[in-house]
Symmetry: C2
Subunit: 206 residues, 2 copies
């Protein structure tokens, strides 16, 4: 049955597995999810690809995007700016495609408050525990100790917004978490409120 | 994470495949659904087992159950009475088990309006089309033509309540519909509002 596209929003503290899970969903054949690539002013890391991981833009260009209302949402994190370009999202939704957002609580809150808010389904991915999260951040071995401490403080703040989300997935096991995320996506696609074809079916009753 | 049990409510017109789908879910190993067996005053059919398909009771006993508030919901359909015994449902939910309800729109509406309404997830199962439903009702070959006509009129009435449901599944294919129902169940189990363990997790942030 015909339906509107949905905004599938994933948030989590850094280290909870969100990026890995998002990648699995995007790479799954036939799942039909399109990633919304954020714009950011933060420096590009060696492993990152411009246009795939982020659109890397200057502070001046970012301010211009804000002023011209080219962003669906934007937020400042550790002095860097992040935002969601509006035009591709609106085009994909109009085509009935579902769009995946990998954003923090501020981004999720702004998407919910946007004109597209009714089509948001949001999932918060939790680590099994805070001590496990700390262990994972240290095991990454790419950040300095003060960065780990700062990320843990940010993680606590991020997790405190978890009650604002529609779903919560505790990421004990990547396969199990992926299965749950796929279930949430399938269920949200069957939500009555999204089915634009229902009215026509009901008209057939007369 | 610890959570409250949920009321998984399935409705559909007769002939849309609901009973087959409910049976598949109940028989699935590890899915952990318990069927709420309705009480009814209608006569027992040859293939039916008392206590499995329905609790077959007299009109007097049914009235007594209504008066003593022993039913979560009850409705009259074609002059027969149907109702959901309250005690077993409350016991199962307290144990954190999920309960499946195979009820019509009146039953679903009363469950939503009951004190357990916040824990209801409701799914309406549609036939692919009304003409296909008519074909299926005739193919059953167990009902007289006037019964088929009456069931079609009742089906139109039942379908007209489909907008009251959280989810809509068009039953083109039993396997695909079963997959969607399993996804809805898994997603509803991950709903943040059901997670009683979340508060304790968040307390750990302090």
């Amino acid at each position: 049955m015909a339906r509107r596209g949905l905004l599938f929003v994933l948030s989590s503290p850094s280290g909870a597995g969100k990026t890995t899970l998002a990648r699995r969903l995007l790479d799954a054949p036939g799942l039909g999810l399109t990633l919304s690539v954020s714009a950011t002013t933060r420096p590009q890391r060696p492993a990152e690809v411009d246009g795939r991981d982020y659109h890397f833009v200057s502070a001046g260009r970012f301010s211009e995007m804000v002023e011209r209302r080219e962003l669906l949402e934007h937020a400042d994190v550790f002095g860097n700016r992040y935002g969601t370009p509006r035009a591709p999202v609106e085009r994909w939704l109009a085509e009935g495609r579902d769009v995946l957002f990998d954003v923090d609580w501020q981004g999720a809150a702004q998407l919910r408050a946007s004109p597209l808010g009714a089509d948001v389904a949001s999932v918060f991915i939790l680590p099994p525990s805070l001590s496990e999260l700390n262990r994972r951040l240290i095991a990454r071995n790419q950040d300095a100790p003060e960065t780990v401490a700062r990320r843990m403080a940010k993680a606590r703040d991020e997790i405190s917004h978890c009650p604002d989300y529609d779903y919560v997935v505790v990421n004990d096991d990547l396969d199990a978490s992926e299965t749950t995320l796929r279930a949430v996506l399938a269920a949200e696609r069957a939500r009555r409120a999204r089915l634009t074809g229902l009215e026509d079916f009901l008209k057939g009753l007369d």
